[in-house]
Symmetry: C2
Subunit: 232 residues, 2 copies
């Protein structure tokens, strides 16, 4: 993740942010899958950490707005705006610039992907994502369906199906990291079971709701098989 350091904000002359739309309607991409991965050898959740241009643009807009409003003014009630550590805010890291550090665009998420191969089952698509992004080779039959829901109903409305899978160190066949041909630059990260609930509700760590929900789902459904600390 450290190799992301050439972040620039340039005019969007060719509608870069519309490309996902074109994909959406050309590749039957109304379906997504995500997978909560639990490593039973190390008792860790296996997540991905990605630089997300859209998140970065939000942070850039925020930094710009704050700069124009003056440094003293803070957003009332938004506790997590005073970010530290992993989600360094623009004010702390580059007070003289409107460009936040690249880290401001990095989020923690579940292993996930687009359903772009209509001949494969959702489980098989999920299996491929687990292999490509996280490096674990498991049979599709190990994917347990958690539930499905609509994502971003205001703009996309796609359906996402969430799975749970247990993996072990024996299933680990590569470092993961995504498919470079698809422009993916993914870092695989592990969150120990005993830190999961603290991680889920720590607003300083930028993450997707799917990640938070899946940790709570695990807590409610996988205990007492795996004991998860709720001392938060």
């Amino acid at each position: 993740m450290e190799e992301i350091n050439n972040v620039e904000v340039v005019p969007c002359t060719e509608s870069e942010y519309l490309k996902p739309f074109r994909v959406l309607y050309n590749q039957v991409s109304y379906l997504f899958v995500s997978v909560l991965l639990f490593n039973t050898t190390s008792h860790c959740f296996v997540l991905v950490k990605q630089f997300r241009p859209a998140v970065y643009m939000c942070e850039w807009e925020k930094a710009k707005t704050k700069t124009s409003q003056g440094a003293e003014k803070t957003e009332e009630g938004d506790a997590s705006e005073s970010q530290e550590g992993q989600s360094a805010s623009a004010e702390e890291s580059s007070p003289s610039s409107q460009w936040p550090p690249a880290l401001a665009g990095v989020t923690y998420e579940l292993c996930a992907g687009l359903v772009d191969k209509p001949d494969l089952s959702l489980e098989e698509i999920a299996r491929q994502e687990v292999l490509e992004e996280c490096g674990y080779d498991i049979p599709a039959s190990k994917l347990k369906r958690i539930t499905s829901f609509r994502t971003n109903v205001g703009l996309i409305g796609s359906k996402q199906t969430m799975f749970y899978a247990e993996v072990s160190d024996d299933n680990c066949v590569s470092a993961g990291g995504g498919d470079p041909r698809e422009g993916e630059l993914i870092e695989v990260v592990k969150v120990p079971l005993h830190e999961a609930m603290t991680f889920a509700y720590d607003e300083r760590i930028p993450k997707s709701l799917g990640l938070i929900f899946s940790f709570i789902w695990f807590h409610n459904n996988m205990s007492p098989k795996y004991k998860i600390s709720t001392n938060v």
Copy 2:
């Protein structure tokens, strides 16, 4: 909701689906709020039900694809594709047409809104949404922060802060329904506490992940104050 009946799919000659982007960068809209509302008089959750064009477009794409692939072919592994009742699928309701019924674009969601007034706190914005969409007039101090997270990291990357608020029938001052000037057509629906967990995991009911997560959060955090059935 029944008055939505003139659904047509026409060529998108003026990039209708890009308008949200324009709003996004003009109105400091990197922040959203959502509110889980619990009515302590009737022991019901108060939700909103909306026609979502983006969801409808997804269903339209799905119906088109399935028609072109033949009616016999089903999507393996996607159990909820065999939808019934509230989320009638295209095949069942309009076998001779590629246009699904309007109901296919309706989703259940938490009361929510865009943070478009920079001078107000997130709690105050949330309070206004509760009043406009659901008709309950409560002080901002009754809004308890649950957590925050990133939404749709691939395309938008906005931050959503989720609140919880208890309301009573005494706080109900209008029927809600959103602001017609903003084009909102919202139906307020109640889900009894004892049906909440079944509702949350019923994949035939189209809903946002925020809704599912908030019900589970309530179950984990508001019990035993309010007993929620887990017999699902």
